[in-house]
Amino acid sequence: MAVALTSEPAPAPTGPPGDDSPRKIVSRVSASDKAFRGVLRSAGIAVLVINALILIFLILRSLSAFHRAGFGFFTTQAFYPELGGQFGIAALLPDSAEIAVIALAIAMPVGVAVALYISEYAPAGLRGPMIAVIDLMAAIPSIIYALWGLFFLMPRILGTDEWLAFHLGFIPFFHFTKPNFLSYFVGAPFIAGVVVSLMVIPIITSLSRQVFSQAPQGEREAAYALGSTKWGMVRTVVLPFGRAGVIGASMLGLGRALGETIAVTFILTPPTFHFTIHVLEGGGNSITAEIANFILQYDAKGQAALLACGLVLFASTLIVNSLASLVINRSRSGAATAD
């Protein structure tokens, strides 16, 4: 039988060292338990194996593309991997990152506001339904977001785009270099970012909410006792307590936004291979959209190039997510929510 030896704080040793060490507990494991634990262990190993396989196969299959493109893979903006053309991720990766950053810039304030509302402001009877709404928002398939973004949001956001370009055009991001027709605003990274932000909101909200709700009651009451208003309490107790959690949640959201495929593919038209920071200008691309659009059409060489893109995507989300869990687990609030 398994007995977990939890190490209690050992009393200060009085006798010679080693005299007072905890006795060794020996347990005989029955045959059925041995088999059972073997099964559990193999499931754990299977998880590792699947991940290793993903990495190995992506690397093996994309090696030829890396060989062919050399260092140019990271500096070329074009992507014509068939027939010996030039290809690289210098446009695709920044495009993906740009959309993810736009998404995060919108989702972070909204997500934190919703989390604060649910954990601090909502009446007790409304809390459960609001959590259900956020869970539902996370459960809606991304293709429904994509449909909604393409047919509902796109026609309605173009006017706003135009307004931004006109009145905030002095900000480089909103600068608009194309002729001023509404059709040139269609399919811009900005619109894709807005749609992706809606998918990121539930991630940020549900994690931040858990962290906020664990802000110590004693400190909250102390803030009130010093005459703080509710907003003052939130600002001085809840937000500082949850800061690392919010940062971690946002990075997880960033990872999700980098990997989002369908909504980005639907909205970004026409696909271009030229990175621009003018996010309102129609056309653009991302790693995921490029893969979705072309992997079934390309020959083996082209597929290898796309798999190389997939590997870069895998690596970048892995880095972002590892950083996120590091931030969450290192923080004061994170230790309590680690499970």
């Binding site: 509302y117 609001m130 398939p141 293709i143 706003t160 208003t229 990997g259 995921t288």
Partner: protein, 376 residues
Amino acid sequence: MTAQQAQIAPDLTVDEVRVRTRTGSAEGSATFIGAAAAALGLVWLVYQRVLPFSGVLGFWVCWYVMFLAVYYLMARMQWDGLEARNRLASVAFATGGVLALLIVIDQVGYTLFKGEGAVRHVNFWIKSASLVGPQTTSMKIGGVFHAIVGSLEQLGLATAIAVPLGVTAALYLVEIGGGFAQVVRTIVEAMTALPDMVAGLFIYVTLILSLGLGKSGFCAAVAIAVTMMPIVARASEVVLRIVPGTLKEAAYAVGGTQWRTVRDVILPTARSGLATAIVLAMARGIGETAPVLLTAGYTKELNLDPFHGPQTSLPLFIYYAVHVLATPPYVERGFGAGFALVVVVLILFTIARRIGGRAPGELSKRQRRKLSREAS
């Protein structure tokens, strides 16, 4: 309290006045409504005159900013700065919640509304799209039965792969633990955030390119399972972890082996939580598009056999209808498929909410009835 009671109340309950703990007040509500109306009027006037072509969305964004400004000014007239800021903060956060609610309602409602034209016809549910051309405008021809069948079969297969693996991995993390388990936990966490496109690429590279299997529903199911497994594992771990330790110890104390303890105590105790985790993962799985796109293969025909030949699922049908074919009648059919998909997700979500929310070991009404029947 009626008027009569109010009249006699002061005599009877002199020192028993109930303290109102409600924070809302008439002034608060009036300020809120007043600010909303004032902002609406002001934006209506200015926005429509100065910037005539700025669209619906811009209007409401401007309205919201104006509303917050007016609300703050009105609050500042009545209360001091501290209180005004406090109220501004609560209003701003509450509107965040309302925004989330509106987005969900809008997305679900819009899909149902736009899909309604196609799903009204019975043939949409029982026919495949084999007779549908790109310009077939009549919705009385063809349907998405083939995609519904594909979705359900792929989801069933994916669940059959992902759930045993996910739950066993979660049991490993909780029941055995140790340093290696910590590594596995980290990997599972990383996998939760694996882009679904990468899962599709993985299956495409291994099963289809390397092993030479053709595109089929089974390949799609494995790809979906790769995305579902970490969700099942993480959610199950949380549920298994809150099974009371006393129950486990009791099982060990009466001589149970670990296997019997898990089978007869831990899993039944955590049943409702596990079911919720599984159903939520299924809701995620059925909506996966990117992995299916690379692995299932598109077809207009009904294919009942998931192991041979291409098999369309609902998300894949939407993708092809809206993005690849993109003719107006196909877009309408795509929205019809979206209708079906949203309905399935809503059903799964409702089931998850119904069976979830109970503490581990808490019995449902039916279980309690069964117990009392057995006892008598």
